[in-house]
Amino acid sequence: MFRTRRGLLAAAGVLAMALSACAPSAPEGQTSSGTTSEQVTLDVWGWRQEDVAAYEKIFKIYEDAHPGVKVKYVPYKADEYDTILRTGLSDANGPDVAQLRSYGLLQPLVAAKSLVPLDGQVQELAGFPEPVLDGARGERDKRVYGVPFAIQTLHVIYDKALFGKHGLTPPKTWDEMIAAFDKLAAADLVPLATTVTDTWMLPIQQEIFGATTYGGHDYLGRMLAGQAKFTDRPWVDSLTRWKSTSKYWPEQYEGVSYVDAQALFTSGRAAMFPGGVWELAVFGKSNPELELGIFNVPPPPGAAATQTLVPGYVDGSFGVSAKSPDQKAAMDLVRWMASPEFGQAFSTELRQISAVPGVRPQDPLLAQALAAYQADPSPYVTYAYFSGGSPTAWDLASEAFSTFVAGRSGAEDAAEHIQQGVDQWFRPTQ
């Protein structure tokens, strides 16, 4: 190590903080004289740079129905968005409506009182299922701060051509699944393209393979009430179950990155990829020839759940800035975002599962994912429900699973790591 030009990291970090206090500048073309002007421009901030064109189309529908209102989607870089939004919301030149992260990541904005609570203001929210609204709730005051826009579901994505070639169909039982893995492995294919180095994927894989073992929402309910723990048998077993599939992971999986795993799957060297429904669009783009299918992992012998569970969670929501000069117009827009009209446009244009109740995706795979999720939903426990304090269960799980998968600790140790971290702040509901 030998660097002469590089400042102390601490200085850089603090500097970044100091500089971000001056940012961001007002997006151009904003009229902020909300009271008298006939023309209102609403800025909607978000982290999806790739979705600008789609949002323009979606907001055009709203603009046509509401003359005098212009809606502009202003995207920022995804990994810098949270920091930018935190400062943006503290200023009237910031967004009127903002795309918000869900669960734990939403809490700093709620704590800073940067958002307007929507319950009571947006009647349409009453039609949303409670677990969906959980994604946009403040942990302390339990109020809803955003209209959820997308639901992500977790599956095993498979290559239909490879399955067909080896005479396989989506498995109905755990044993059938293992037999399929064996058959694919014997044919010199990687059955499951998994990553280990990108640790954020590990809790996702654990839900996909372990949800039925601990029992999904039933177990979560008992955890939230303080009657069950991460360290209890069902949850620890779910880790062991998940890791029991590791002989079907890529060779030297400890060093396989997320991008490597994706490439293994899209290049046809691997038959399956356990991951989120958002991968479908990515895979379709990188290899349009690929014929994709999805299934969920059937319960293994001794599992707490008898039916196949489909894990899912709320991806994000749209909320109203407390500093917006056009709060009334912003609230109208957010109300529309809770309507089937927006949900349908969102689902069609962005090929995602809309969170608005009753909206069916046109894409058949998404429709299958949503139907399966609605029939047998399961929570993404570490990400969604134990993320309101520091350290979050999700961070703890990512660390613990990485050690666990590398063979450096047992399932009990991994569970203990999460429990010990969460115990410092989590209080069960009475």
Partner: protein
């Protein structure tokens, strides 16, 4: 805080050369001197002193997102030092920094010295080789990290491919994925990038040692090794000192390379977790009170690095000899 890092090194490097010029400067009016120093002082103040003081100040409060909450005194410091798993991650990360420093001293700086001696003895192609060895210096550590993680990938990386092709199947490993190899690989990749630095400094220092000294040693019958060890190396001590302190500071501020190689979690089971990553996670992946906690952590890292480099500097200076 950059002063602690660059100040002594630069000061001493330019000390002897500028000594005579200093006499003449004595006659210049203080106003002139102040005028010339002002731009640097302003930059230093705005970009170093102000953020440092701000961090100190921020660290004394609880934060609700970006809203400053009540005064917390040393509460954030206590929180950072006692909360699980931070209370275990801090010593682990610190230990990784120490190991990384030791590894870098042992490999990068020793090999750098070796290369410098070789180039000094055989001037043929010196310019060319000097440039080649220093070239990685010009690449951003982030790019170096991403390129090496591609090279080392177990599925698509050429390194394991070559090992397998050469029949060394058992040597092919998930280099960055196994807790045992991750940190050594980090040391090597880092040395690959920065080896030109110590090499250039040692080369310059070697050039400054009078040849007569070694010739005299040779005439007295000393072997080349003995002549190097007993005559030349002690005279290199000022350079060793500068390099050690700079290496120390660089190693304890490590961030971008390890981030590119192992992500913000510090690789498999946190095997490459260092203080820089810990700060990053606390500040940018932390909870509601992220600003308070990360400021406290930053101040503690600063005190540690500043204090340790000051001690190191004193210790090394005492060992210096002059020709």
């Amino acid at each position: 805080m950059t002063a602690g890092r660059l100040g002594p090194a630069r000061y001493r490097a330019g000390y002897r050369a500028g000594y005579r010029a200093g006499y003449r400067a004595g006659r210049t009016s203080p106003a002139w001197i102040a005028a010339f120093c002002l731009p640097a002082l302003v930059l230093y103040g705005v970009f170093v002193v102000v953020p440092l003081v701000t961090a100190l100040y921020y660290g004394l409060f609880r934060w609700e997102g970006i809203r400053r909450g009540e005064f917390a005194g040393l509460g954030n410091y206590l929180e950072v030092l006692t909360r699980y798993p931070l209370n275990q991650e801090i010593p682990a990360a610190l230990w990784h920094n120490v190991l990384f420093f030791a590894g870098t001293m042992a490999i990068q700086n020793t090999v750098g010295l070796g290369l410098a001696v070789l180039l000094y003895r055989n001037p043929r192609g010196k310019r060319f080789l000097q440039t080649i060895f220093s070239l990685p210096y010009l690449i951003s550590p982030l790019i170096v990290g991403y390129v090496w993680s591609l090279l080392l990938s177990p599925t698509f990386g050429p390194i394991n491919f070559l090992l397998r092709a050469a029949g060394l199947e058992s040597w092919a490993r998930p280099w960055l994925g196994a807790p045992d190899t991750a940190l050594p690989v980090l040391v090597l990749v880092n040395a690959w990038q920065w080896i030109g630095g110590p090499m250039l400094i040692f080369l310059a220092a070697l050039g400054g040692i009078p040849r007569e000294l070694e010739e005299a040693a040779a005439m007295d019958g000393a072997s080349p090794f003995r002549a190097f060890w007993s005559v030349r190396f002690p005279l290199l001590m000022p350079a060793v000192g500068v390099i050690t302190v700079l290496t120390f500071i660089g190693c304890f501020n490590l961030f971008d390379l390890v981030y590119a190689l192992g992500g913000s979690d510090g690789g498999p089971g946190g095997a490459m977790d260092v203080l820089g990553l810990l700060y990053y996670r606390t500040a940018f992946e932390g909870g509601t009170n992220a600003i308070g906690e990360s400021s406290a952590l930053a101040i503690m890292i600063f005190i540690l690095v500043f204090g340790a480099s000051a001690v190191l500097e004193r210790f090394l200076r005492r060992r210096e000899v002059t020709s």
